[in-house]
């Protein structure tokens, strides 16, 4: 055998950062290899957003009145974008918990790789699928008549917010994925995501909800995201006045929520991965 151990380089902050980036990219590359190995599950995952558009658009669309008038499917699309964004939590919990239970995390921990690369790699990997599903959903939306009618810049800003929130939520998933004792528990946790999505302004206007429920729904970060998308895409359902602050200032609220989640969950996840005495 000719291969020798990596000579241990002097660890300056710059080399550390370089290793962290390189190792993180290897883990993102792993995601691409996985997708290439399982094209079937990739296709299934991508059909899901399109099915959602049709299902919700035509089933709910036949019954729900949009406040201030307008097409329900145009009202719905920002909500569906938010729902697909929230699924990031689930995806990352399962991904991370799977690596923990299969011993891969311990192998990573025992290797001379960057310590921060693993959580960063997992969250960045989630963006790969995340961007694809947002793109598919946008195409499906365009097919059923949804338009981003407030200019290209605003549309891009809307997608930017979706990506930002998705990334923030993936760190929430990363943290809980490291914390849950096993994969079964991870799968049970994911059941909680559905009610959180529905308890928002994503599918129905919150005006009709009982006061306390409306309060929760309006402070739900997904409501801010949905409202921000409606505003930036120029979609119906943005009603001014008499709402909670996040719904009245949705773009600022979405950025604040995302930054807040990142500030809390990035250090928590990184520390949880590096903690030795589990």
């Amino acid at each position: 055998m000719t291969v020798q151990s990596t000579p241990v380089a002097r660890r300056t902050p710059v080399t550390r950062l370089r290793w962290a980036l390189a190792d993180g990219l290897v883990l993102v590359g792993r995601e691409f290899s996985r997708l290439r190995q399982e094209p079937g599950s990739l296709i299934a995952a991508l059909i899901f957003p399109a099915v959602m558009v049709l299902l919700f658009g035509y089933v709910f669309g036949s019954a729900i009145q949009v406040p201030g008038g307008g097409d329900y499917r145009a009202f719905l699309m920002p909500g569906l974008f938010a729902m697909v964004t929230a699924s990031s939590v689930v995806a990352v919990i399962e991904r991370v918990a799977g690596d923990v239970s299969r011993g891969l995390m311990n192998r990573f921990r025992s290797m001379p790789m960057s310590r921060v690369a693993v959580p960063f790699g997992h969250t960045a990997s989630d963006l790969v699928g995340g961007l694809l599903s947002i793109a598919i959903m946008a195409v499906a939306g365009l097919l059923v008549g949804w338009r981003a009618s407030d200019g290209l810049l605003n549309a891009l800003a809307g997608f930017g917010l979706l990506v930002l929130m998705r990334y923030a939520l993936s760190w929430v998933g990363c943290f809980f994925g490291l914390k849950v004792p096993n994969e079964q528990m991870a799968q049970q946790l994911t059941l909680l995501v559905m009610p959180v999505t529905v308890l928002s302004n994503a599918f129905v206007p919150t005006d009709g909800l009982p006061g306390w429920l409306r309060f929760i729904a309006e402070w739900n970060p997904l409501s801010a995201l949905t409202a921000a998308c409606r505003e930036l895409f120029g979609n119906p359902g943005t009603v001014a006045g008499s709402h909670a602050w996040p719904v009245d200032h949705p773009v600022a609220a979405t950025v604040l929520w995302s930054v807040g989640l990142l500030v809390v969950f990035v250090p928590l996840s990184v520390r949880s991965f590096q903690r030795k005495n589990r």
Partner: protein
């Protein structure tokens, strides 16, 4: 004398109320295989986790190739390989894909990674399955891939935590062959196992761990000598087994164990009893003997003797009584 390549001194580790390690000492000379044996919960995996930098000890210290596992953990990681109890590979990737990923994470240049992955797949007989998803591998192939993944950069010390648990005998033999090849290349191996024949086949030295510390160590042969050779006696009439047992007890000074409906086993008391004498005494007692043989104890017998949970001094509450002292007492009893 050079410092042992793996050195642990007085390792302590507790998880809440459970004391996993209570002062574990271990020294493995470079280029040897050390088998760590112990019942479930003896602290084997905890010891491996500390030595491979996955955990920090509460007290005591350990060095791998002279590097402290706590203060120089990063450098330790570049000289060790770890293959744990699970096949820690990505099931969704191919065998080759896994090896390339781990190679990249070891910071090898891309070209070398590709070359090295192929070299290892070839050498460990995985080339045929190289481009299949690991999901479809047999248990033995997964373990082999898991082992190979620890070898991309040749480690100075390889930790194998129960590498063959749950494998069929053939796959186990294949893993053993891999380990022997590695040792021939100069890699030091620390192997935990619950299969004593595995330790017997592979290990140069064995450390028997119980209650979080090493209670006996030595070569497989040395450990067997500690409890001495044994007589196996087969009588013709199972009805006379108790008479035979009484004779053996009188001669050997120890209670024989029944190993079958007409067979007994008893320590030979280090040659104090001879076969001829034994046969004569049995004959005098009217017991017809079908077979008598003097043999080395199996490692199982050594292990059971050393870790005997039913020994009267070993109660759950006497946590502080030194397990080593207890085992030493038992050895003295049988010497």
């Amino acid at each position: 004398m050079a410092e042992p390549i793996v050195l642990a001194e007085g390792l302590h580790k507790h998880f809440g109320e459970v004391h996993a390690l209570r002062g574990l000492d271990l020294a493995v000379p470079a280029g040897t295989v050390c088998g760590v044996l112990g019942p479930n919960g003896a602290g084997k995996t905890t010891a491996v986790n500390i030595l491979s930098t996955l955990m920090d000890p509460d007290a005591g210290h350990a060095r791998i190739a002279g590097l402290d596992v706590v203060r120089q953990a990063d450098r330790v990681r570049s000289v060790i390989g770890l293959t744990g109890q699970y096949a820690a590979v990505d099931e969704k990737l191919t065998g080759r894909g896994n090896l390339r990923m781990f190679g990249r994470l070891h910071h090898l240049p891309r070209r070398q990674v590709i070359q090295r992955a192929d070299e290892l797949l070839e050498r460990f007989d995985l080339m045929e399955a190289a481009d299949r998803q690991v999901r479809g591998y047999s248990g033995g192939m997964r373990r082999r891939l898991d082992l190979v993944a620890s070898l991309i950069v040749r480690p100075q010390v390889l930790f194998l935590d129960e590498p063959t648990t749950g494998l069929d005998p053939r796959s186990r033999g294949e893993i053993w062959d891999c380990v022997r090849e590695l040792v021939a290349d100069g890699t030091t191996v620390l192997l935990t196992t619950q299969y004593l024949d595995e330790a017997d086949h592979l290990a140069d030295d064995i450390a028997v761990v119980d209650g979080g510390r090493v209670i006996a160590e030595g070569t497989p042969d040395g450990l067997k000598s500690m409890i001495g050779d044994r007589f196996d006696v087969v009588v013709e009439d199972p009805g006379l087994l108790s008479q035979a047992a009484a004779v053996l007890h009188r001669l050997a000074g120890a209670e024989p164990t029944e190993t079958g409906e007409n067979s007994l086993s008893v320590p030979s008391a280090n040659g104090a009893v001879r076969v001829a004498e034994l046969v004569r005494e049995l004959d005098r007692a009217g017991v017809a003997v079908a077979d008598v043989s003097l043999r080395r104890p199996t490692l199982d017998e050594v292990f059971l003797r050393l870790t005997d949970r039913s020994a009267p001094t070993d109660t759950e509450t006497d946590g502080d009584a030194p397990a080593g002292a207890r085992a030493a007492d038992r050895l003295k009893d049988h010497a």
